[in-house]
């Protein structure tokens, strides 16, 4: 009895000690009190989620946050021009896969490693290991972390469960089966409408971000070992050709003008049996107010290529600190980023429909209890694990090289000589690539 009491007392003392230890590990959130910081944001669901909560952060830290959000196209222009002009920008949203090399070379990105490793600046509860490794990697340039993921994306094959069951079709596991299923459904009459087998993006540069998953799964790559364009290789040509053929033979009319908005609306209208696009569009497909196929959609990872490769990409939006800002404001900006990406906000954003880059958010009871599409979650988790962070050409001038790539996709959709077009694009890419 005495021993029991003793050990109980010991346990009590120990836990009290632990508690005070964790309390003392809590960083001083008021250290940048009175500082005003300005963040430029893309008008993105994450921005919508975080904006009303900023008051909480301001109360916690005494830092004033000015947040300005713009639609994506204008956002990129505005951010580039403001950063170049040296305007007062302390932090911003970045899509690292698209802009990291360019912004890094331009000297606009402040490495975050110093803040993350400083126990005075980063609370242990923030736990960097909780983020998926693929996203931490894709938010890094030359081994330096330049952003913290706020929106984690990949692409998935979405298909009509009702049609697949009705016609006893299997979810395609490889590209051959994908083509066979697309062919099977193409032209079938459903409720007086003619179905198409599959819908994909076909609009030049906009298509490359989805086509790249086919490129990698066919064993292709942007550049070869010598750093030259790899477009003229048999694998790359096969990927261009397969993608173009699928869209021309089994896709909607006018494939070369399909951006994601056109492609997803075809699928939501119930006109396509399958679609390959960003996983986050689940929110569109499953919205009964806008989608005729809500509740009837299944999700799967990209089918395997000829050699069994299954390589989707992962992309993300991250929050970054501007290198052009002052050290005092950069510190305040880090406190804000840390707060905006903490476990609570990761989960909160996920529950609000913004896919979190934190494992703990997806594993949480709150998420699992509300998950209406567990097959989507399972496919997304698998894709996050096997996903490639490099979904754009590994160059500084990404838009220009995407544009060159997109022309081959357009030619492939139009049924032109793909090998010829790819060869021409490879030469042009070699001439225009900047690193």
């Amino acid at each position: 009895m005495k021993n029991v009491l003793k050990s109980a007392a010991f346990a009590l003392v120990l836990s009290a000690g632990l508690m005070s230890a964790s309390a003392s590990a809590e960083i001083n959130w008021k250290q940048s009190q009175g500082t005003e910081i300005r963040f430029l944001m893309n008008k993105h669901p994450f921005t919508t989620y975080i904006e009303p909560k900023i008051a909480e952060f301001e109360k916690l830290t005494g830092i004033k946050v000015v947040m300005e959000a713009f639609p994506e196209d204008q956002y990129r222009n505005k951010l580039t021009i403001e950063l170049n002009a040296g305007g007062k920008v302390d932090g911003f949203m970045i899509m690292p896969g698209q802009d990291d090399r360019y912004y890094w070379k331009a000297g606009w990105l402040q490495p975050l490693d110093g803040y993350i490793s400083d126990p005075k600046l980063t609370d242990p509860s923030w736990n960097p290991k909780d983020f998926f490794a693929s996203f931490a990697k894709s938010s890094s340039v030359e081994g330096k972390q330049i952003g913290v993921v706020i929106n984690a994306e990949t692409s998935l094959l979405a298909y009509r469960k009702d049609l697949f069951t009705k016609f006893k079709q299997k979810v395609p596991a490889n590209m051959k089966e994908l083509e066979a299923v697309a062919k099977f459904f193409h032209g079938k009459e459903m409720d007086g409408k003619k179905l198409v087998g599959i819908t994909l993006r076909g609009k030049k540069a906009a298509a490359t971000s989805q086509w790249v998953d086919f490129l990698y799964s066919f064993g292709g790559s942007w550049t070869n070992a010598q750093g030259k364009s790899n477009f003229a290789s048999p694998e790359d040509i096969a990927a261009f050709k397969f993608y173009g053929d699928m869209l021309r033979q089994y896709g909607p009319q006018g494939g070369t003008m399909l951006h994601w908005a056109e492609s997803t609306s075809s699928f939501m209208e119930g006109k396509a049996a399958m679609i390959y696009d960003a996983n986050v569009f689940k929110a569109l497909y499953e919205n009964p107010k806008e989608s005729k196929v809500a509740g009837q959609v299944g999700y799967a990872v990209i089918p395997a290529g000829p050699k069994g490769l299954q390589l989707p990409h992962v992309s993300n939006w991250s929050l970054s600190i501007s290198k052009t800002s002052t050290p005092e404001r950069q510190k305040a900006a880090w406190l804000f980023i840390q707060w905006a990406t903490n476990k609570e906000n990761g989960l909160g954003a996920l529950l609000a429909g913004v896919p979190s880059g934190r494992k703990s958010s997806w594993d949480s009871k709150e998420y699992k209890a509300n998950d209406k599409q567990p097959d989507w979650t399972a496919a997304t988790m698998k894709s996050f694990d096997i996903g490639q962070g490099q979904w754009n050409p590994p160059v500084i001038n990404v838009p220009e090289i995407r544009d060159i790539t997109g022309q081959v996709i357009v030619d492939a959709i139009e049924g032109k000589d793909v090998a010829e077009s790819a060869k021409k694009a490879a030469e042009l890419m070699d001439k225009k690539m900047e690193r």
């Binding site: 170049n84 331009a106 606009w108 009319q253 070369t256 075809s266 006109k271 838009p399 139009e414």
Partner: protein, 297 residues
Amino acid sequence: MKTALSTVSRYVDRRQAFFFPAPAVAVLFLIIVLPVVFNLYLTFTKWTVGLGQPQFIGFDNFVEAFGDERVWNGVKVMIYFSGASLALELALGLAIALYFNRAFKGSEVVQAIYIIPFAATPVAVALIWRIMLNPEIGVLNYLLTSVGLPPGLWVSSADAVIPTLVMVDVWKWTPMITLIVLAGLKSLPQDPYEAARIDGANPLQIFWYITLPLIRPVLIAALMLRSLDNLKEFDMIYTITQGGPGIASETLYLYSYNVSFGFFKAGYGSALMVVVFLVVLVFNVLMNRLRRDASVV
């Protein structure tokens, strides 16, 4: 104090011609002259926005433009689009103006309705056209198929995209030509017509030998006004196709926008802009000469 003030006011008074327009001149200098000069300077440089300072490279940008397939594609698209739309707008504008020129019951109402496309905001109109032209969910194909005609691909086909854009441009801008020509028609002298009728000329002869020569300066003025906008058509094409499919509707103007604001290559983009400017300039000098000759007649 008072004398100082009066000295100043006398000084200003004597130089009114300088001081009064000065603020306006300063603003114009800042927002027009400076950017143009800066643009000309960029023309001779290689500069990606953000990556270092502009590097002077002489005429290299123009040499590059000369060998750039997309520049030639842009020129071709520009000639095709502008040639077709200007010709149609002029012909239709004139025909409709001749029709409106005869007074008929309710002509004011018809004319008011007729100019609506011209009065509407270009981007808003283009957005609506973009949706209407969608081959899958657009209303145009719905209408075509509901009367038993085959659906069209419109701007989704490389072959049909320019004719489709010309159609939209003609729909939007013909009323402008009509308005100008109509004003010209109303101001024509009536004596030659009376003389012609007495001489027994038929309506076609009257049109060909009297109306057309008299109205020619007005037609050329209308063409000049319209061509200024048409040659650098941007908002409508950008909103509907962004130059697609592929580069099938990418005018030189759109290409230079893509280079400058898509790829952030300010030097090369500026050079392309200067080429566009030269094309518009040459065209207008020619038109101006034509107009002067016409007014002499």
